[in-house]
Symmetry: C2
Subunit: 635 residues, 2 copies
Amino acid sequence: MDTLGRFSVETGFFKHYEDLVIREVIPYQEMALRDEIDGAEKSHAIENFTMAAQVIATGHSEGEFYGMVFQDSDVYKWLEAVAYSLRIHPDAALEARADDIITLIERAQHPDGYLNTYFTVKAPDKRWTNLQEAHELYCAGHMIEAAVAFAESTGKTHLLRIARRMADHIYTHFITDGHEGFCGHPEIELALMRLYHLTEEPRYLELAGHFIDARGTDFFIRERAQYPWMVWGNNALDREYTQTHQPVREQTDAVGHAVRAVYLYAGMADTAHENGDAALAAACRTLWESITRRRMYVTGGIGSAYEGECFTKDYHLPNDTVYAETCASVALVFFARQMLTLDKRAEYADVMERALYNVILAGMQLDGKRFFYVNPLEALPGISGEAITHKHALPVRPKWFACACCPPNVARLLTSLGRYAWSVEDATVYSHLFITGTLILPEEIGGSITLDTAYPYEGALRYRIHVPKGTACFTLAIRLPAWSRETTLHTNGQPATYAVKDGFALLTREFADGDEIAVSLDMSVRRVFPSQHIAADSARVAFTRGPLVYCAEGVDNADDVLGLRVERETPVSTLAMNALGDIVALQVKGYRLRDKGALYAYDRPQAEPCDITLIPYYAWGNRGLNEMRVWLPEA
Amino acid sequence: MDTLGRFSVETGFFKHYEDLVIREVIPYQEMALRDEIDGAEKSHAIENFTMAAQVIATGHSEGEFYGMVFQDSDVYKWLEAVAYSLRIHPDAALEARADDIITLIERAQHPDGYLNTYFTVKAPDKRWTNLQEAHELYCAGHMIEAAVAFAESTGKTHLLRIARRMADHIYTHFITDGHEGFCGHPEIELALMRLYHLTEEPRYLELAGHFIDARGTDFFIRERAQYPWMVWGNNALDREYTQTHQPVREQTDAVGHAVRAVYLYAGMADTAHENGDAALAAACRTLWESITRRRMYVTGGIGSAYEGECFTKDYHLPNDTVYAETCASVALVFFARQMLTLDKRAEYADVMERALYNVILAGMQLDGKRFFYVNPLEALPGISGEAITHKHALPVRPKWFACACCPPNVARLLTSLGRYAWSVEDATVYSHLFITGTLILPEEIGGSITLDTAYPYEGALRYRIHVPKGTACFTLAIRLPAWSRETTLHTNGQPATYAVKDGFALLTREFADGDEIAVSLDMSVRRVFPSQHIAADSARVAFTRGPLVYCAEGVDNADDVLGLRVERETPVSTLAMNALGDIVALQVKGYRLRDKGALYAYDRPQAEPCDITLIPYYAWGNRGLNEMRVWLPEA
């Protein structure tokens, strides 16, 4: 069961983020879409819809399409975030403006249901002829996601009707009329599954499965030969880039463009679960392991190379030239959530948490005004953002990008956390992420659960059960994070009775109104040792506390992070810090090298004892340009 | 004084390399130039000259130009190596074939002296209209270098006459007729200086100085606007790439394509010395420091990025994605030699030696049959040569390349070591590189010096003075390598009397026939500590012994180099090894990590004590695919 609409974040850590998205990100993004930001590169996304509506109405339009071929998706991702935000914080004016945009979108729709402003305005004769590059199905996917979100969150189905006409058009083209093809950028698959879950229309499930199983052919090579027009000239022969090198059921390594790959896997896992498709589920598990056992940063970042924004090879995890796109970690959260439908294994939620609290939060400045697309684990002023190899790896967050994918992806995720924090299956209620708020239980159980916590900085979780009718029999399955050395549970002050299965503590009982389950997670700082196969991390360690990965930043460390060496066995102390939004910083004993300035020296550099201050990775880059490092060498 | 023709390598380490070049490299390269190697990508370089000669003779040619725009230079570099080889090892048949090729080259020359097969065959109306990309002056430079080498080594001036006609044509075009311009790939500058040194024709010195001082304008941008044709479409706006971002006298950082940069600097230093131009000399010193104090690998490799084969930023020295082109280190040897004409400082020769014994020798397989263009300091099987970021950084040497720049550059350097091993200025004889052989002293001194040594594996140098006329008064200046902690000198068995200046031991005396100067270099293994600003080398050390940098290879270390940790203060032992051509290997105590296979673990991996075997860097990659690392983490 999708718990999105049943959960409200109430106070605390993520309430701040919800507010930030609603107060800063959504309005800023709307201004960007409307080209109302002075000095920013124009988006033209709304204007593209206006022109497309003119074409539909009159057969032609003044002006030219502007922006990326997938510019429409910026509007849809914004609308999706708006839908979630309206549930959290009703805003009649915003809702009216969103309704106006939806009306505009409808006016840009062709009578046959087709809807894409690039093709309507710029290339009306080229529909469905460059699936490799042109993102038509990708944009349709985001429209569908926004439509489903609007229907779920506001009950309004205007956008849903538009999206269904487009989905039906796609069904006709690819299934009824039998045109070969699938999208170069997966997204439609997971979107069709969302549409299916909402509407229960089997054609959408069929279409998702069709697009998944159609991959793994040389279709893009034949398409390019038949229709040689190009958007960027992506190489059709690079079949790994688009995950078409093998049928998906035979794929064993996570390869190619990381966002594309993991959107696909998320759609695959959802389809596999819905169809009870064991072979497809097995492929998902294999790809999950490829990512999380060999190709993922400790921050939950994925995609090691700027070139192609791609997965590369096992254990290739450079810290400074990394891509680790914010969107890719959003995709990883989606995939993890779908894997949880296949297998009730806490490791999926562990990874979801890792990606959320580290890369995804780092993607946004603490004031919500600037964004990282790339999330390095090492920032080197003078090199990062400067060297020809590091142009992408900026050491401070930039403002809006021409390709505005990441900020709206963060916005829609942070306003829909209920979907990831909990899940309910039959009579089991899973608590995956520890966010203060209340979950309304399904009617067949009844009542609600309120979680109160100062997580991620404190390890005490307090679940209170509300059962107006007196008692309710169900299982509360609480994730036992792998990083917590020892987790203790109490029920109403007494040691709890529970089973442990695949990383979940299962408390099965007849819960009475007012029951309280107290969980104490071990928040000791953990030293993390990298696999020896990761060349970039040799002889280095990272520090985590709870779900947070830490890093050293120059501003806390005398502007010299590269010269720091951590003492091997020393304990680590915590330190409340008022800066950066009331964080808990860490202090660890170490040394600061003082070399004499030679490029190579025969004398061992002197090392002075020092205290090394670490801050949560998500908060880095908020105090100007400075060195930053997650993996610190041990002395 | 150029000591090339006065020095003969007699036995030992470099005699082997001379033989290898003469026996393997030059014949193989000749077959390549003639397209006689089955299965190799064809060169067509000789065929291009044949076609150009047809054009000159008949006005047209069948067939098409094939290869790089600078394909001619492969023939010239081969001819230069042949010239040197004929001095070492006369070979009438080879000489006759070279003469035939020179005759063919002459037949491809236009009546006005112009000579370039690309333009003659493919683009006759485009002469001198794409100096940025088309390498016309670059090819002319290599022709000039070959011509000078032929004249010096064989006394034959046929190629010299051809080259002078081209040089005179260039002078007319750029000086007499006043056409603006300079080459996108420096090389002509140093070549014109060589031509000037041989001929003493002041126009060549003038032309070299002209091309040097003409840089630093937006000429390439204007040229592209005026003549929009392109070879590759290099970006004219990237002025650093071609070292035209500033007048050379104002340049302070080594930037852009490394080979271009350092060829330019070598020509600048030669010109500065010849003209007594203090400002230009100062610029050379600044650029030398930029390279050697902040942008050079411990191996003497330069160029940190594949993209543009470029210098990047200070202290950006990645070990695995490095470029460190073999040709760039050849260029660094040229630059160092010219800096020695400006300042008698041993540090220049130290760098020359570092580049020669490490990158340049590593460029060639021990059997002379395969070549590295890129010289990584870390090879990661499965990633190196495989990941999209590492396609260039091959972990084993490939055969011939379509762009055959590096092998002939190594060939010409290794057959002309006399030019770098010694220099003579007035009555001072400088011994820069320690190579067994005999130097004929200039007539005004008389006699010869024979150096006998098992260097680089032993530190004993024995200089014997031959003065047929009885005595000779001069200064023998012997480099005191920076790596030798303590160097002792004896004259005829007695502690020598000498002054030390800028890294040279100056022995000034009336030498008698049979005098013997024995030098003992301290060959203790040195642990090298990298600047703390080099992020990639944090907490790692390298090992050197004498001029050799060492590395760990998998084949000597249980196929696991990434898991090795070196003990901090442990002594290092040496070990004679019969493999790899009788090397001295090193053994150092350390540990081998045994992690349990997790990507990230909370348990410190176990470490077992082990002996770590290190081999000279130049010998790596001769025993198949395996891990290799120069910078090893300390435990």
